[in-house]
Amino acid sequence: MIEGWENMSSDQRQEAFLAKWVSGEGIEFAGDEVKAAYAYRAGLIRDAAKLKKTPERTPVVVLSTFAPTMLAGCPAKKAMYDPEALGKVWVDFARDYDADTSGNPALVMYGPPLEILDYNLYKWPGHGIKEEQGYQFLEKPYMKAEDYDHFIADPTDYWFRVWFPRTHGALKGLAALPPVYGTMELPAAGPWLATLGAPPVQEALKALMEAGRASFEWIGKLLPYMGRILSSGYPMYAGGFSKAPFDVLGDSFRGTGELMMDLYRRPEKVLEAVDRIVPLMVGLGSGMAVANNNPLVFIPLHKGADGFMSNQQFEKFYWPSLRKVIVGLAEKGCVPLCFVEGGYNQRLEYLADLPKGECIFIFDRTDMAKARRVLGGKSCIGGGFPVSLIMTGSPKEVEEETKKLLDRAAGDGGYILSIGCAMDDAREDTLKAFIQTGKKYGKY
């Protein structure tokens, strides 16, 4: 733990955690030069995020999921089934494209445990979609309207005994479990333990054991490559992952349609549920960040974008719980990196209501000049480059557009150059043009 932590403010904690990250503590660098390169790159992000010092240039970050493997001609299915092929491609990608950060290849995930668990939440390459295509979310109302009270009373209990059996075919047996509470005393421990022995529950537990073993082997194979990415001087843009409570509820539990109707039918339940999710999301993000020794917590934002709801609804249902997650993460010294999907032109004023320099917002289709105007000097912004130009433009066009974007958005710091998309596909010439232009013209 960091000395004096107890008495530090959020800002001081972030500074301390960032300093630890920038120092590259625990990474075995090939040499001092590589170590300095790592510190330089991570330092650019720190300076952009904290808004205290104008960095030497804007950091260049490429958010990517399947793009590195696609570019290397490695089909999505192979990426999800062969950790060594995946790891190698990501090491090469970091070096050859030479952006300031790497993503984390582990978020490509591993196919076999999903098969073992009969995972229904996504389709993945070779499983419901083509082998070349990245995974796809299958949104359904896995949580029913009448389940709100159970969810609110104990989300984890609900998660285990209701949501798992509905979303993972092999975990159906968990539905037979009674809640764990009886174990607090000897006389009531028996029923719980006895149910664990029932055949359907045993089947579910076996599936979990098997999926766990497969995943453990997988990460064992992937970790050395992740280590090589770091030791060759590339910090990762995400140490942890979290979500806006409204999106947790909308994406994985109620589904968009049902949740949007809940806003009219049972608004109080929605509010109680999102509030209940706040500490879970703070714990999730900060736990991962600490484990990875990287304070950046990646938070993709989905259903609060322009068009989904009115500003009044955003102000009531979406923003307060997201703000609590952001502030809660900052209190733990983490730096939330919100990836603001869709457009946020009507919402920027809300985002401005945060302590200075504690959160990063990477935008997708928001007007970047406006984002600069509203958030400049308050929070670090980023993104805004259209992925369509990477896919269809020429390197020259990409260069021009990158320069224009820098003029609009870079200001005197507090900007991270990136494409407004977690990329599953890209083109080599244009992506390289983007990164190089950013490094050359992003100088302050």
Binding site: G257, M260, M261, L263, Y264, R265, G307, F308, M309, S310
Partner: protein
């Protein structure tokens, strides 16, 4: 801005009131209003027209930036529940047996299905057998389903302008693949939301229906023709 009437204890409600309740997303009040009007013996067709008027208002409020996806989804659900209330009454009033087959779907690129489902229900009420291909149906899928189902009518629903070219494609595919003697391919009927005379002419379809009732009448007429030697 819309202000729905709140005098719920009146049994004689004007059309405008139900439309306003739907448009204002007052789910319970709108459904209660429908139930009262049904109990008072009003024709389901009239009630449906009022609901559609409400949905039209929802659409224009969306265009003006007052309603967002949340409101559209809620409106869609109210409409679906309204149809559920009206359906048994419409079945009860089914006007005689008929035995045509209708191949139905919402055209490619379009996910709206409330109107299509309504049209399907109404067809079934009138004794038609309907094969519903669902939403976002590529023209080729209509063609592929034809040989086995042997529909008398192929009906496509379209609400978004971006999908209108696919209607044309649908007609083209049926015409191109047609080696049967003239007049023996199934008639193509279109309808839904913004479909009008102009869209109809552009698509080259054989018929269009202004609403679900008109659509059913067209199908009935076509069956009569089919029966003729």
């Amino acid at each position: 801005m819309l202000v729905p009437g709140k005098n719920n204890n009146s049994t004689v409600l004007e059309t405008g009131e139900l439309a306003a309740l739907v448009a204002d997303l007052q789910e319970e009040e709108a459904l209660q209003c429908i139930e009262r009007r049904l109990a008072a013996g009003e024709a389901p067709a009239e009630i449906l027209r009022a609901c559609r008027e409400g949905m039209r208002l929802v659409g224009s409020m969306h265009e003006q930036g007052h309603y967002y996806i949340s409101g559209l989804i809620m409106a869609g659900e109210i409409m679906r529940l309204a149809v559920e209330l009206l359906r048994p009454v419409m079945v009860g009033k089914a006007c005689g047996g008929n035995s045509g087959r209708v191949l139905l779907g919402t055209i490619e690129g379009d996910l709206h299905d409330i109107g299509k489902n309504l049209f399907r229900d109404l067809l079934e009420c009138h004794g038609f057998t309907v094969l519903d291909l669902g939403v976002d149906v590529p023209p080729a899928d209509f063609v592929a389903a034809e040989p086995e189902f042997k529909p008398h009518v192929v009906a496509a629903s379209a609400l978004i302008t971006d999908s209108f070219p696919h209607l044309r494609e649908l007609v083209r595919l049926f015409e191109a693949g047609d080696r049967r003697p003239a007049g023996r391919r199934p008639s193509i009927l279109i309808g839904g939301g913004q479909v009008d005379e102009r869209v109809f002419r552009m698509s080259g379809a054989d018929h269009w229906g202004e609403d679900a009732f008109a659509g059913v009448h067209i199908c009935q007429r076509l069956m009569k023709k089919n029966d003729a030697p």
